[in-house]
Symmetry: C2
Subunit: 406 residues, 2 copies
């Protein structure tokens, strides 16, 4: 059996008209002799609307019941798809998480799929049926409905591809694929043909919003090749695959960036062992993610400056925690909201010397000051003044020839 998993996101099933379009896509793959498994999200906006109900009725609405409510979104979308397929003469039915079952563990509202039982779905496919499976949900050992993290329908699809040994997993969404950088920022952005899991992970967590990092990680671990493409275009999308399937024509695959960072600098920190830990401990305890960190070597040897970034939404909380922290001494706290992080991402970086140099030189040529630097094996990030964001992205896009075919 040549099995294919087709996953449709919330915007793809955002209206009855769009669901009819989705059904046409499903039928086109049936006609190509695939055994199709459909995985669907809830109709766009529905999950948020349901969430609002739980927030408006109770201060502490229990997660268990929240999952019962949120799971109805996918239930409705899947039944509409299956119903329309029937109407057009195709054998199809909705399969809810508990009917398959999709077994999860962990907390409500952030469960993880640990197994998808094969029997029911495989039997149904063998009988010529098109199963339409609810994304984002399952049941736990208590026989109760659970949901995954937001955006978890991608993970559902990837694990369906794993458990049902699919040849392919296509994620249909509202963009045409993964781009070298945000097409809204610069017209030179270009669709990427193939990208590695690792590069995609860096792109996703740094700002490209197409797929959740957790689902890409799941695909990477299970070696599931993903094809990301638009529901509303026939053109090829982007394939997310193993590193070695990728031609290294280009060292750098893409440029991602953020707009919601804040930089904090503690000036004149008494430099003694463990001082950094003392600063970050209360932040960690309050679930504040510290991103870039740099500690200057002070000339005197007794005092140092420490700079780090957090998300803008965490800034005021961070500021309070730092200011009331009695275990550290410093002269001044400088805060800068006007920063952006620009990152170049590419698995080819490791084997290509001089990438860092080229990046810094290109920015220097345009007199763009780099405030903080951080690097990993496949990415280099720099913190710059937000007003230079567009210019920086464009100059780097040009420097690494991302507009040429990938």
């Amino acid at each position: 059996m040549k099995i294919i998993v087709l996953k449709f996101g919330g915007t793809s099933v955002g209206s009855l008209k769009k669901i009819e379009k989705v059904v046409k896509i499903v039928i086109s793959y049936v006609k190509k002799k695939y055994k199709v498994i459909v995985v669907s999200s809830a109709m766009e906006g529905v999950t948020n609307e349901l969430l609002l109900k739980t927030q408006n009725i109770a201060k502490n609405f229990p997660e268990e019941e929240k999952d019962v409510i949120l799971s109805t979104g996918e239930q409705i979308a899947c039944a509409l798809i299956a119903g329309k397929l029937n109407d057009l003469g195709y054998k199809s039915r909705s399969w809810l998480g508990w009917q398959i079952p999709i077994i999860t563990s962990g907390n409500y509202s952030s469960s993880r799929i640990i197994e998808i039982k094969k029997k029911n779905i495989v039997n149904y496919i063998k009988k010529g049926g098109i199963p339409v499976i609810t994304g984002f949900q399952g049941i736990n050992n208590d026989f109760r409905i659970t949901t995954l993290e937001r955006g978890g329908s991608d993970t559902s699809a990837i694990l369906c591809a794993k458990f049902f040994k699919a040849d392919k997993c296509i994620i249909f969404t509202d963009v045409k694929g993964i781009y070298t950088t945000d097409p809204n920022l610069t017209k030179s952005a270009k669709k990427i043909e193939k990208i590695s899991y690792e590069e995609m992970l860096e792109m996703a967590s740094l700002g490209a919003k197409v797929m959740q990092p957790a689902s890409i990680q799941e695909a990477r671990l299970n070696r599931i090749e993903i094809d990301v493409k638009s529901t509303f275009s026939k053109k090829n999308g982007t394939i997310i695959t193993k590193k070695r399937n990728i031609l290294h024509k280009n060292t750098i695959r893409g440029i991602s960036f953020t707009k919601n960072d804040a930089k904090l600098t503690l000036v004149g920190v008494k430099d003694k062992p463990g001082v950094a830990a003392s600063i970050f401990k209360p932040l960690y305890e309050n679930s504040i993610n510290v991103d870039m960190v740099v500690q200057n070597i002070s000339p005197v040897g007794r005092e140092t400056d420490l700079t780090f970034t957090v998300k803008l939404e965490d800034l005021s909380k961070t500021r309070k925690l730092v200011e009331k922290n009695k275990s550290i001494k410093f002269k001044k706290l400088i805060i800068n909201r006007n920063v952006s992080k620009v990152s170049i991402v590419g698995v080819g970086m490791i084997t290509t010397p001089g990438v860092t140099f080229r990046m810094f030189k290109a920015l220097a040529k345009k007199k763009i000051n780099i405030e903080v630097i951080s690097t990993s094996e496949i990415k280099i990030s720099v913190l710059i003044n937000k007003k230079n964001l567009k210019k920086s992205v464009e100059i780097l896009h040009q420097e690494f020839k991302l507009s040429s075919s990938l």
Copy 2:
């Protein structure tokens, strides 16, 4: 264990504010030391909205998938109730049809509950939990979601009362109880304290819209006493119970009426054996319900007039079927849309002579012409001109002293 079933209808849970009110009612019964089982409908309007989606996406939307979609309404309402109870410190959870399970048989969209498995709910109650059970739904032998007929949540509640051996079953709704006649028609209408299942059945199918006949029949068969009362008033409602629990102060319990009937008269029908069957066969085959029927004895002995009533919505179909019916001969078809059926209902009627006479005399006194009559053991119905409806109901209400305490 003193178990009580509290059932809330769609208007009772029609908004988050109203659900908070429902939760208060539940808590008040917990405080009276009852073990409470809650059964809820979907929030008002939700089921129709979902139904519309299925109708708008496909001409022949399959019933199986319709049930998957419609069942989400109760799922959400129950989880909201359970969630709010938790928020206020009470142990509660939603129980969906398939989790209990509530086992149904028959067709999708009009299934019947054949069993409610006791174990899960009884264990949960013993642990001090308040189960909130989805009305209107269950699962069948194929492990798929089914729904009952519209209004089936009442049946769910009544069968919960049966299977969990409840002491009481209270149906909370948006009216204060069952009235002697429609309070919107005449101010003299009075709330009935107690009514028998049989009387209620006649009242329900004749126009009182508080409960579906099927659910009353289920209560009658299982001898479940029902208390119908308003969610929004502390006053006593109406108790629906066995005949022998009712004091027969009054012969007549109530007056019901319809406004959507049409009368058809076939003039000059060739009177030969089986002519009535020939007329009604095509109507039966097209699911048209014929209500009142009267056949005049013709003076000539060879021709007769035949009159019957159908629902207004079936009139044009009926007319066509009669006109193209080649197995009957008649001179003229007269149609009258301006008719209403008024019925007096009461179990005391059987043992009280003269009720028919009193009814006819009271109407005659006001010069109200009776067009058709039909009777059963506990009701007498007359067809009158619609313009006389209000006057008829009022005169009968007075004649049978329905305004005095019941």
